[in-house]
Amino acid sequence: MNTSVTAEANTAPSLALAKPDIKPLLLIPAIALAALPLVGSGSTWMTLTLAGLAMGMVIFIIASGLTLIFGLMDVMNFAHGAFIASGAFIASMMVAPLLSWSESESIGLNIAVLAIAILGAMLVTGILGIIFERVIIRPVYGQHLKQILITMGGMIVAEQLITMIWGAEQIPFPLPQVLRGSIVLGETLIEKYRLFAVVIGTVVLLSMLYVLNRTKLGLLIRAGVENPEMVESLGYRIRRLFIAVFAAGSALAGLGGVMWGLYKETVSTAMSGELMVTVFIVVIIGGMGSVGGCFISSLLLALVANYAGFLMPKLALVSHILLMIMILVWRPSGLYTPGKN
């Protein structure tokens, strides 16, 4: 009761001396193994685990943009969902005329459709992100409260714009032929789409880790959030960097939208709200803006949801929230704090 908040923060072990922290990483196999005897059947367990891990990848892709923006720029972007939805809509619009390609048996054409959808969506949402940064976010850097408020305003406007442009109806967004169906090994089954998600997720993870850990960019942006004037006095055009990060985050949201749209095979305005709570939870329990933490927490969340859904469907109603509370009790600032790993 008596310890002040700041004191707790201050007594956190010295950052410089911390070793790589793998406990959160071990949590995943630990939970999976713990679930095995409960689930009973090996093939069912395998199906649940594989599906969960792959779904975790999808969640990670969707959350990665938010983590990036949140972690580096300390902006909680409530409008992220709108970017997700626009990504999906844009992709579905781009591939609509290419229906025959995506239905064709040719893998090349299928991949071409996917590439067009992904790149197109990322490009457009990236540009939208730049606009959004300019008109919405720029005036409120460093002011948390206003950020929450203004991005919520931005979310409302963006969602309405989407409805205005694409209407309220659901638009079909068919999976290309290669990604349809599942692979069955004995009684274990994995959907092809999920394998695809694993590939894309890995690419996103690795490239984010590379950019943040091997370049000055990550440092610069974190410094810029704390004290933009100082960073400018050192000679960096921090505004441009912020824009770049925001564009990247939004493009990732667009990618997330494509992935989510492909999973659901329809695109609708409801998409923007659907996953937001999940994504926020992922970002929170991953630790503010830690890419690794976000990755692990996405996988955890999806796995736990699958096991809970199988073992006790009632629990699945609140499994995300329980997981969040448990992790925050264990580590009050999330699995990882940025800079720590």
Binding site: N2, T3, S4, A7, N10, T11, P13, S14, L17
Partner: protein
């Protein structure tokens, strides 16, 4: 007073002449940040009516020691007593209410409130009126008067209605002092109060501390790097180095010790001493 056993040979042994009432004391107080021990087994007693200056190189642990005494940080080991009470486990707010007041080295204020309101809040805390839910704050005129008086003492009265955020650095330092005054603590801990204050204001603060010192009920702790300030105020000097207490005692003796001369004042004692004597 117990001389710490680990005090080095050069350290000055304590000279104790008149028995004084111990108000605040620490026993074997330590704090560790990861692998770094910032305050290491520090034991010291502080007395009413005495002004103790704490000196030591940058990073010696002076501010951290203050943080431990005033409750901003919790000790890893050791004990802190205030009069009869063991306060080691108490939080900052509780200790403040028991009469420990402190200023911060790096200015720490309520930026969007007015200068007066900053001080008024401290006076209100002193009067223990924070949980008055149903009276109107402006009805408590005594708090406002008290706050204005404190501002006058640090010559900030003329800026009382301005927003704190726009004060210049030096003015913020003064406000920091005023805040502590308004708390009317029995134990006052100043952390480099004059850093950044312009030369003509420094005497104002020194006189203020001098006046407080006259009150035999008050215990004053002061961290200061300006040697002339130290010399004009200190009743006793404590030296910290790398978290350890290495000397404690009479000012002139402590200042003359080699440890202080080399580790603190600089590696070229001859240069320093000449200059010190020039202006003494």
């Amino acid at each position: 007073m117990i001389a710490p056993q680990f005090a080095t040979a050069q350290a000055v042994t304590v000279v104790e002449n008149k028995p004084k009432q111990v108000t605040l004391s620490s026993r074997d107080l330590s704090i560790r940040f990861g692998g770094h021990i910032a305050v290491n087994q520090v034991s010291a007693d502080f007395h009413a009516g005495e002004l103790t200056v704490i000196v030591g190189p940058n990073g010696a642990g002076k501010t951290t020691y203050f943080n431990l005494l005033s409750g901003q940080l919790m000790a890893s080991t050791g004990q802190i007593r205030l009069g009869e009470h063991d306060i080691t486990q108490l939080g900052a707010a509780a200790r403040t209410q028991m009469g420990i007041g402190r200023g911060f080295q790096l200015t720490n204020l309520f930026p969007h409130l007015s200068v007066l309101e900053n001080v008024r809040l401290a006076a209100q805390s002193r009067a223990n009126k924070g949980f008055r839910l149903f009276s109107i704050w402006s009805d408590h005129a005594e708090l406002i008067e008290r706050a204005e008086a404190c501002l006058q003492q640090v010559s900030l009265y003329h800026r009382r209605h301005e927003q704190t955020a726009i004060l210049s650095h030096g003015d913020k330092r003064k406000l920091e002092v005023a805040l502590m005054l308004a708390l009317e603590p029995d134990i006052l801990m100043f952390d480099e109060p004059t850093a950044g204050m312009s030369v003509d204001e420094v005497p104002v603060i020194i006189n203020l501390i001098q006046a407080i010192k006259q009150d035999q009920q008050k215990t004053v702790l002061l961290v200061e790097h300006k040697m002339d300030v130290v010399r004009s105020l200190a009743d006793r000097i404590i030296v910290l180095q790398d978290g350890c207490l290495v000397a404690d005692g009479d000012p002139s003796a402590v200042m003359a010790s080699d440890a202080v001369q080399q580790a603190y004042l600089g590696k070229r004692p001859n240069v320093i001493t000449t200059r010190e004597h020039d202006h003494a």
